[in-house]
Every structure is written in C-alpha cells, then in structure tokens.
C-alpha cells in the first residue's frame, strides 16, 4: 500500500514538474507582456520531435521511429536539450514578432487568434516533416523500472523532476537576484516606468518569449520518454499547465509552480482510484478554486483590494 502511494507521489511530482515548468512559461510572457502563447502546446510537441531528430542524427542508432536505448546516452540528451532550447527560443522570438507585437497593447484580443494560428501552422509543418505517427524516445538513464521501497519508478521520472526543479530554482534566482531579472520584474509591473529606468522594454519582452518558448521545448523533451513523442501530445499538457497557472495565479511565478505540482499530484492520485474520473475531478476542482478566488490562489490582484 505504502509502495503504491510512493509510486503515485513520484509520478505525480514528475508530471507535476512538467506542468509547473510550462505554467511558469505562461506566467513569464503574461507578466511581461500581458499576452500568452496559445501555441505553447505545439511548441511542446515540436520540442519533443526536434529532440528525437537530434538524437537520431547524432547517434545513428536504430530508426527514427524506434531509437535504440543507447541513442540517448552520454552527452547526447543534454545536447538535444541545448538544441531544442535554442531553436524553440528562436521560434518564440518569431512568434512574438509575427503574432504578438502587431496586436499587443491594442484593444481586442487578436493575439489569441494569431498565436493559435501560429501553432496550427507549426503543427502542420511538423506533420509534413515528421508524419503523424508517435515515436518512442529512450530515456538517457534507460527505461528499466527501478525499485524504490517497493514502488516501481522510472528513471526518467526522477530526471524530469530533477531538471524541472533545477530550472525553476535557477529562474527564481534569476528573477530575484540578477540585474536582468529585476528589470524583467520592473517591466512586468509597469513597462512605462521600466523604460524610465533605461530598460529596453521591447528587448525584455522579446527575451521573455524566447525563454518561455525554450521552456516549452525542453518540457516536451522531458516528457517524451515517459509518454511517447507525438505532435499532438502538447495540447493536453499545455491545457493542464495553463490550468495550474490560473489556479496558482498567472501573475505569480511561485504560485504557478505550486499550481502545476498540485495538478500533477492530484491527477496521479485520482488515477489511482478511478482513472476515468481523473479529468472530471481536476477540472471541477479548478472551477471551484476560481469561483472562490478569481485571481487564483496566489494571484496579486486579490492583494490590491486590501
């Protein structure tokens, strides 16, 4: 029994770590530009496939659709992560220039449509290049289930959790301690006043989209070995992560991380009893939380009223 709970805890934390990472990526663009990338789901899928492609090209092990376990070994997985981060970061800049900047700060919500459209185009291009079939991505630490106090734990779950936590801690430090982070927080609070400090607001916004998109890509690369990589896998993840962000408070990075982890744990916990109730319970809970606290659990606007 204890082993079962432990198993739920580990897999909940692992998928929760991915939700938290993606929730944070939503928060990064929302706080700095008051806009969101609704193509984040496609960015996750493209990140995963790009990762598989890099592993395939540098290792030459197995076929594209079924990479041999050794393909992800050594420095290849970190290399894939670096390539995915860089390419998706560039894609985020392209998205900002093409789909956000023409509409940001103007009345209406054209950027919602334009980012969704950007995602659809990206997915279609991905399908043309990689085809619709899901592919298996090996974990760098192998796919053999480890025994941990009787619970079956996959090495990738530990890796996902560890990488997510390290990335989030690094970002938290960046935002609070570095000159750049303080400038990003200043832009998030008020772009005009930030400009008065000599901060190049447009550059910070561009950087926010690059960072947010890179996180989505790396998130895709992290989950791919747990599920299987598919160009469609990102939608569900992005939706859950977005829900986690809304629940924790979109304008509070730490709240977003909490929301992401909470959702992952809840999902794993509910699935233990009745897998088919999972989605129903989760989204009912989100609706309930928002009914009580419209700005999320840790949203800042609730503070303003005090």
């Amino acid at each position: 029994m204890l082993a079962t709970y432990l198993q739920v805890l580990v897999s909940g934390l692992a998928i929760g770590g991915v939700y938290a990472l993606i929730a944070l990526s939503f928060s990064i663009t929302f706080t700095t530009t008051k806009t969101l990338n609704f193509a984040q789901g496609e960015f996750i899928g493209v990140g995963a496939f790009l990762g598989v492609t890099v592993l395939y090209l540098v290792s030459g092990e197995g076929s594209f659709a079924a990479l041999a376990p050794a393909a992800a070994g050594g420095a290849r997985y970190p290399l894939a992560a670096a390539v995915v981060g860089a390419v998706l970061g560039a894609l985020g800049i392209l998205l900002f220039l093409a789909a956000i900047r023409p509409f940001a700060g103007k009345p209406g919500m054209s950027w919602v449509m334009s980012t969704i459209g950007f995602g659809i185009i990206l997915q279609s291009l991905g399908l043309a290049v990689w085809g619709p079939a899901p592919v298996n991505m090996p974990s760098p630490f192998g796919d053999d289930v480890m025994r941990l106090a009787g619970a079956g734990v996959r090495p990738q779950e530990i890796l996902v959790l560890a990488v997510a936590v390290v990335l989030m801690a690094a970002l938290d430090l960046l935002m609070r301690r570095t000159r750049l982070g303080k400038a990003m927080r200043a832009v998030a609070h008020n772009p005009q006043v930030a400009a008065l400090m000599g901060i190049n607001v447009a550059a910070v916004m561009l950087g926010a989209f690059a960072l947010s998109s890179a996180l989505a890509g790396v998130g895709g690369l992290l989950v791919a070995p747990i599920a299987s990589a598919s160009l469609f896998m990102g939608m569900g993840i992005a939706l859950k992560a977005f829900s986690g962000a809304i629940m924790g408070g979109l304008d509070n990075p730490r709240g977003c991380i909490f929301g992401g982890f909470a959702l992952g744990l809840l999902e794993a916990g509910v699935a233990l009893w009745e897998a088919q109730w999972r989605e129903i319970v989760i989204f009912l809970l989100i609706i309930l939380v928002l009914a009580i606290r419209p700005n999320g659990l840790f949203g800042a606007r609730a503070l303003d009223k005090v």
Partner: protein, 237 residues
C-alpha cells in the same frame, strides 16, 4: 539645456499640449504650474520619451532627441520621477535604486557608492533599504522615486508633483532637497499643482492652461502676478 519648440502632443483625437515653447537653462529650477488636466504630466512624459510629439521640436544640450526612445534618454542625461511616485512595490528600496542606475551598468562597488550618495541625501531610505517599497510611507516613497531618478545621474531631473498627497512637513523636506540639488548643479524641471511652493523655489516658471503656455516669467514675478494669484494662489498670501 532643454528647448521645446512649438510642441504639440495628442492622445488620439485629444489635444493635450498645444504650441508649447519652453526653455530650461542649466543650473536652474524651472517650474510648470497649472490646474489638473492642463497637460503638465504629458509635457514631462514627452521630454522623457514616453509619448511622441505630434509636432514641434525638442533639443537637449543642443542635440535633437525627438527620435530617441525613452530608455535611451536616461543615458542621455534625463530622468523622470513620475506622478504618483510609481516605485516598484514588491522590490526592495535597494533594488528600486539599482534599477534607477540600470542604464549606467555599474559594477558592485560603484553601485554601492551611488546608493550611499542617495542615502546621504535621504537618510530614511538607508534604514529601509531591505524593505519592499510598498511598505514605505507616502513621503518615503516620494523620496525613493526621486532617489531612483538620481541614480541615473541625470543632468536634467524631471519631477512630476512631488508634493502630491503628502503632509506639509514632508513637503518642506522634499522642497529643501530640490533646492539642494540645484546647488549641486542638477537642473530641475518641476511640475506642481501647488503653485505657491513651486514658484517660491523656481528661477523661471511657466503657467500651463488647457495645454497652452499662457504666462511665463521668473518665479518671483509669477508669484506676484494678479492672474496667478487669483487662479492658483486663492487670492490670499
């Protein structure tokens, strides 16, 4: 030092400033007074680069800066302490000051020295340096806003309603600092609704009415001007 030449500024169809010609000489305190909605803040925002000119010219130290974006004007030597203070509430006093020096790219030692100079001028900020700005009193936030602007080491300091919502004692303290800054060679362009205070310290002053300059002269002249006394000083004094 600063010349505004027949400046027009509009928000869409709303004309906020019309045909304003204003000159600021180095080493002076120049005041712009006028009622709420006269266009005073708009004028300062245009000088800081936050709103574009619809027509007219702007020169700073002889250089045309109309096309210079706001974030580059700080490095050029212009800093604005905006209306309503606008400190970054969840960042500490120290971080607010650090942001004020953002464009100078100072190393740790120079940054510490620049902050120490501000704490010298505003000793209360030193006591509060590790507190989030939101926990400061209104007067302390105003001091922080001015100190933050000074961190950019401006040659021209723009102050938008530094007395807003403050108690008389604090207002006197802040105006004391403004005159001290002039003595140190910082040129100040001061916007105020409290005309008597502003005209009292100003070397030169302008009266702005619905976006137009209607009077100009030395601070002392305008203090005595019958129209100013009737409109802004309540006739008394």
């Amino acid at each position: 030092m600063l010349q505004l030449d027949a400046v027009h500024i509009a928000y869409g169809p709303i004309q906020a400033v019309a045909d304003a010609t204003i000159a600021v000489e180095p080493g002076q305190i120049v005041a712009i007074v006028g009622a709420n909605g006269a266009g005073k803040s708009t004028l300062l925002k245009a000088i800081a680069g936050l709103v574009p000119l619809a027509a007219g010219g702007i020169r700073f130290e002889g250089r045309d800066i109309a096309a210079l974006p706001a974030h580059r004007r700080v490095a050029a030597g212009i800093a604005l302490s905006p209306e309503g203070r606008q400190v970054f509430p969840d960042q500490t006093v120290r971080d607010n000051l650090e942001l004020g020096a953002y464009s100078r790219r100072l190393g740790q030692a120079d940054l510490a020295r620049a902050m120490a100079a501000q704490y010298e001028l505003f000793p209360r900020l030193r006591e509060r340096q590790d507190q989030p700005a939101v926990t400061l009193s209104g007067g302390e936030q105003q001091m922080l806003a001015i100190a933050r602007a000074l961190m950019g080491e401006p040659r021209l300091l723009l102050l938008d309603e530094p007395s807003l919502g403050l108690a008389p004692l604090i207002i006197r303290e802040i105006f004391g600092i403004i005159t001290a800054l002039r003595a140190r060679g910082v040129t100040v362009l001061l916007v105020e609704q409290m005309a008597n205070l502003a005209l009292g310290v100003a070397d030169r002053a302008y009266v702005l009415e619905t976006g137009r300059v209607t009077l100009e002269g030395s601070g002392a002249e305008l203090l005595q001007h019958p129209r100013v006394r009737a409109a802004y000083l309540g006739g008394g004094h």
